[in-house]
């Protein structure tokens, strides 16, 4: 390792050191003039030297150029492109505010930012503008980041409506979902039909499917880097919306003008509130004892930004959200008020994150970002029973009272300290390095029981905690990456990610090289290639069908090794000026130490002896992704197509599945098409449509039955003596999945100058009954002629969502 690193550092120092000519550095922030929001990935380009850079996640840039005349152009899609020409004689700070340019009539679609487009060295990545997410028609009109990502090539959804991401043959637990740099462990609401990301709070979303930069680690298949808005630094503004199942409110503005800002977003569903009178009426009619029952979820995003000085900024980002199911039953009085009984059930699950970040410009070439963060996911199932019986005086004691509280908790909690640096020694290097230390606490299942029983002369108390013990683990990560420009044609991104994981006396270390290459073959055409090795030290035990609150994160152990992947990718990127951007990418990925439930095992009760319920195996995935996108004019959109194959093999002793033979992965799909289009008819009306098609999910079916053998080991005879013959795992394909969603927006300026929008959406517009679950049903019937009973088995399909219209109203103020 040292043999490789040392020459590289010498080379880096040599090229970075300003001995060849006098150089000076121009640095500063690029922000939106109207609201002061930092612009991420804005381009800064010097026409004279053809040198350029892009702003980082805080809108900061640093560009070192030879002394003399410079002509800088700042550009960001949807904004004007100011040019500044001056003579560079000293290090210079240039904070630039860009004006939104409505005359461009250009809508940002996806993937055309500098680092992910034709000219950037990054491949297998797309930037998804939040405005775009808001325009895609969705289930119940709830615009959703994860659903938008599922429309991109190489990204697949799980079952109907689910918020799971299956990226390039990987599983849903192999995605690193970062909200302001902090991992979220469960991004699902309502069993995965909605995600936790409230798009009103978001500014920027980047998805990496491969060729991962060295700064990311810890997951095999993708990184979704979501950034929240800082908040307007000049005036208070916001949006409010009301939809079929949820309402949202977002407020942002200055606390101290141009110094301290806030951005708060709230969302809550209200099915429970709407249903409350109906439950009450039904209970009154039937004489039932349900006092209340319901389900809801809510999200709160909040971000505060404070400018300490021209060089220092503090950020406090938080998110917390919960899903809750509750039920309360009871008999208020029986036998003349002598007995009271009450039962409650509460199930809450959700995430909470908080991060305090300090960014500092250490020098005009070195930018530091240090953060302390907390993230936790927990699921709490609680039940209680209370009864009280009062007795007449002749009993000798007044009453009998019993109270029982049982709670079941599971979850994961992380505390992370992280520091990373952006160093731009000259125009040919863009170096990032840093380190992170994370303390994980896994709580697979903790059961607490409290019983208080007071029956007059006797009193009994039980207060106990049981379950699996907490597991503590320490994870470290360090990284170094450099985006190097070699002349106008070549750009290379080299990096190394070093990580370690320490749990229960075991330690794992991993050195992960990363590399990316761009060869520019003309202004509009480039070839790219990339390689990334990734390691993942934590696993999620889940149902594989829908996201459950009981999905459980567990660490690598001495028996269950960390997952590992190697991914190779290559592609062609072409920009057809003013028409479309085209790209074709191919990838090949191998994965090791993947987990699957053993035959007959289920996720129910997986927390106990979970290591015995899973097998460890390998997987391969390969495919070709095609993306064509149009980002100009009134009609915009994209067409994505993926051909892919993903399989698994579990053949190691004690881990055998499918008799050790290769089998298709659960969400292996040969074809995946998504077509998304938006058309603006006028200032007042625009429309969007998306159509998706994919090969049906793989499932395991037994299509034969056979006579079972008797055995001398049996202690009793057993009936029925037939078994089902499962030829292989995932031996059956559901029908292909396709669906058209439509949406239309009607915009209007109110008398107060606010913009109001009515949105009407139709999910599954042509009512395709897509398979959610397929099963064999057995029916018995009596032959009226012979009187014999006959049995018939048939295949049945359950569909989750037929055509679903929805309406929402939003006002921006």
């Amino acid at each position: 390792m040292m043999k490789q690193t040392l020459p590289y550092l010498i080379l880096l120092f040599a090229t970075a050191h300003p001995v060849f000519s006098q150089r000076h550095t121009i640095s500063g922030y690029v922000t939106d003039r109207e609201n002061g929001e930092p612009l991420i990935s804005a381009i800064v380009f010097d026409a004279g030297s053809s040198g350029g850079t892009v702003t980082n996640n805080f809108g900061y840039y640093s560009l070192t150029l030879p002394a003399g005349e410079v002509s800088l152009e700042y550009s960001y899609i949807g904004y004007g492109k100011p040019k500044i020409a001056f003579r560079l004689e000293n290090d210079t700070v240039l904070n630039i505010r860009l004006d939104r340019d409505n005359m461009l009539e250009e809508v940002t679609v996806i993937g055309n930012r500098s680092e992910t487009g034709v000219r950037g060295s990054q491949m297998s990545a797309v930037d998804v503008p939040v405005e775009q997410i808001k325009n895609i028609p969705t289930l119940f009109g709830e615009n959703d980041l994860i659903k938008a990502l599922q429309l991109l090539p190489g990204v697949q959804s799980g079952t109907e409506g689910s918020a799971g991401l299956y990226v390039r043959g990987g599983g849903p637990d192999e995605n690193l979902l970062l909200l302001d740099g902090v991992p979220l462990y469960n991004v699902n609401h309502s069993l995965g039909f909605f995600s936790v990301f409230n798009s009103d709070a978001l500014k920027n979303v980047s998805l990496y499917k491969g060729s991962f930069p060295a700064r990311f680690g810890g997951r095999l298949s993708s990184v979704v880097d979501v950034r929240m808005k800082d908040g307007d630094d000049k005036k208070i503004r916001g949006t409010a919306s009301i939809g079929l199942i949820a309402s949202k409110l977002q407020l942002e503005g200055p606390i101290v003008k141009e110094k301290t800002t806030f951005n708060i977003s709230l969302r809550r569903t209200y099915i429970d509130i709407l249903a409350r009178p109906f439950i009450r009426m039904a209970q009154e009619d039937d004489g039932g004892d349900v006092k209340g029952a319901g389900y809801y979820f809510y999200d709160v995003n909040a971000k505060f930004t404070h400018k300490l000085s021209e060089r220092d900024k503090l950020y406090l980002s938080t998110y917390f959200g919960d899903d809750a199911v509750y039920m309360k039953t009871g008999t208020p009085s029986q036998s003349s008020g002598s007995e009271i009984r009450e039962e409650t059930l509460d199930w809450d699950w959700g995430n909470a994150i908080a991060t305090l970040r300090w960014s500092r410009i250490l020098s005009n070439k070195l930018f530091m970002n240090t953060s302390a963060s907390y993230t936790r996911y927990r699921s709490t199932l609680g039940g209680s029973y209370r009864s009280e019986t009062r007795y007449p005086p002749e009993f000798g004691y007044e009453r009998e009272k019993e109270e029982t509280h049982l709670t079941y908790n599971s979850g994961i909690r992380d505390l992370t300290l992280k520091s990373d640096f952006d160093y731009t020694p000259n125009v040919n290097h863009d170096v990032k390095f840093g380190a992170a230390l994370t303390s994980h606490t896994f709580a697979p299942d903790v059961i607490s029981l409290k019983i208080t029983s007071d029956s007059g002369p006797q009193e009994e108390r039980i207060d106990t905690v049981t379950g699996s013990p907490r597991v503590y683990a320490l994870e470290t990560a360090t990284f170094l990456e450099d985006n190097i420009t070699f002349g106008p044609m070549f750009k290379v991104n080299l990096g190394i990610h070093l990580s370690s994981f320490h749990v229960q006396g075991d330690s794992y270390f991993s050195l992960q090289p990363r590399a990316g290459l761009r060869v520019l073959l003309g202004d509009d055409l480039s070839l790219k290639a990339g390689y990334a090795m990734m390691n993942q030290y934590i696993h999620m035990l889940s149902s594989n069908i829908v996201s459950m609150p009981t999905d459980l994160w567990v660490p690598a152990t001495s028996r269950i090794k960390p997952m590992k992947s190697h991914q190779y990718a290559a592609g062609i990127f072409y920009s057809l000026a003013h028409i479309a951007e085209l790209s074709v990418e191919g990838y090949y990925k191998t994965m090791e130490n993947l987990l699957e439930y053993k035959e007959g095992a289920s996720f129910v009760g997986a927390s106990s002896n979970w290591e015995e319920k899973v097998s460890m195996g390998r997987g391969t995935a390969f495919g070709i992704e095609f993306l064509a996108q149009r980002s100009f004019g009134n009609t915009t959109g994209w067409l994505g197509y993926t051909w892919s194959k993903s399989d698994r093999i579990f053949d190691r002793p004690g881990n055998v599945i499918n008799n050790g033979k290769r089998f298709p992965a659960k969400y292996d799909r040969r074809h995946d098409i998504s077509l998304t289009a938006m058309h603006r008819f006028s200032e007042k009306i625009d429309m969007s449509a998306s159509w998706v098609f994919s090969t049906g999910n793989a499932a395991t079916f037994a299509f034969h039955e056979f006579t079972a053998s008797d055995s001398p080991t049996y202690r009793y005879p057993y009936y029925p003596a037939t078994y089902a013959y499962v030829e292989a795992r995932n031996n059956f394909r559901y029908d292909s999945y396709h669906r058209l969603d439509l949406g239309v927006n009607f915009h209007k300026k109110t008398r107060r100058g606010n913009l109001s929008t009515w949105n009407i959406s139709v999910y599954n517009a042509y009512n395709r009954l897509n398979p959610f679950y397929v099963f064999v049903r057995s029916e018995e019937s009596k032959d009226l002629g012979t009187g014999e009973w006959k049995s018939k088995k048939s295949l049945h399909q359950a569909t989750l969502f037929p055509v679903l219209p929805s309406v929402s109203y939003m006002i921006k103020f």
Partner: protein, 341 residues
């Protein structure tokens, strides 16, 4: 307000319709595969080779009975040497030969039958487990019970099995009580087997040798809880402790809690008691082939989970080449103890 009253139920109706699932029968879009040949046979030393051949059936559509294969030619070879003529069909798919396997025999069965290609299977007859009796004690005891004095006969048996080192071995244990009247069989009763109790005396410095077996997460069900492998005790001596008791006087209470005043002290419902009655305990420790072990374990898992939509489907283990089913074998040590009433 009036408009609100109309809107709210409309919204709720829409929501209810939205969340309700639709279900329909669908046609099978895959290939309806032809029946597969099924071979089932468990060979034991001292018993003539016997097999059952049948066809699998496609599950969709009207159910037809599982049909036996009655036109097959079944040939047998022992240690790679073909043996005599084909096995004879005794009806209903049962084929028998005259050869009685011995421990160490590698038995290969080849079957050709109309509509199927050749399907084959082989098995190695395990050696008889090396078992010694380390303790066998019978005591007669009396106790005061709720309904008078109860007279017990308690039998304690300790058996020691020496597991063969450096090889995978799979075992089953079984204990049965047989009843005889005037020398004629008069019923049998499968005795309780708590494997953790039976193996409780296998103690080493680190605790019970089978602790890992008891804590391995594998849920043991009635049908396979008497099976175990030597995974945790390879090459070691294994102690089995059995203790059974018999109530010798009439009108007593048995383990099931029911008083039997019908003159049937055995509780087996055969109505036999009194003079001429004998009882025999048979304890079996058998070695079975790995294929048979896997077949039994996977079969049990299948039975337990096949209707569960959340469980991963079970592929039942088979060692039949070009077919399905099992050709297994076992070799059993038997401890017997017979008492007069």
């Amino acid at each position: 307000m009036k408009r609100n009253r109309q809107t709210l139920p409309l919204l709720l109706l829409l929501l209810a319709v939205s969340l309700s699932s639709c279900e329909k029968e669908i046609s099978f879009n895959g290939t309806v595969t032809a029946p597969r040949p099924v071979m089932n046979g468990i060979l034991t030393p001292g018993s003539a080779v016997s097999l059952h051949l049948s066809r699998s059936r496609f599950v969709l559509g009207e159910q037809t009975p599982l049909s036996p294969i009655s036109d097959a030619t079944v040939s047998l070879s022992v240690n790679d040497a073909p043996l005599g003529g084909p096995l004879i069909h005794f009806g209903e798919g049962t084929y028998m030969g005259s050869y009685t396997p011995k421990a160490g025999d590698r038995i290969k069965i080849e079957v050709t039958a109309g509509g199927f290609g050749k399907f084959t299977a082989q098995t190695l007859i395990p050696k008889k487990p090396v078992v010694t009796v380390t303790d066998s004690t019978v005591t007669l005891e009396r106790e005061e019970g709720a309904y008078g004095q109860i007279e017990y006969r308690r039998m304690k048996v300790q058996l020691k099995l020496t597991d063969a080192a450096a090889e995978e071995n799979y075992y089953y244990i079984k204990a049965t009580q047989y009843f005889y009247h005037d020398g004629n069989p008069a019923g049998e009763y499968a005795l309780e087997l708590e494997i953790a109790d039976i193996l409780k005396n296998n103690i080493s410095d680190g605790g019970n040798l089978f602790d890992d077996l008891f804590d391995d997460g594998e849920e043991r069900y009635y049908r396979t809880k008497n099976l175990f492998s030597d995974r945790f005790v390879n090459g070691k001596e294994i102690l089995f402790d059995f203790m059974y008791q018999d109530v010798l006087n009439d009108d007593v209470i048995y383990g099931n809690g029911n008083a039997t005043g019908d003159g049937d002290a055995t509780g087996d419902g055969d109505g036999v008691d009194g003079p001429g009655r004998e009882t025999e305990y048979v304890i079996e420790i058998g070695e079975i082939t790995k294929d048979l072990y896997l077949y039994l374990i996977s079969g049990e898992r299948f039975e337990r989970t096949w209707e569960s939509p959340i469980s991963e489907p079970v592929l039942i283990h088979s060692n039949i080449e070009n077919g399905i089913g099992i050709l297994g074998s076992c070799n059993t040590y038997r401890f017997t103890s017979r008492f007069q009433r």
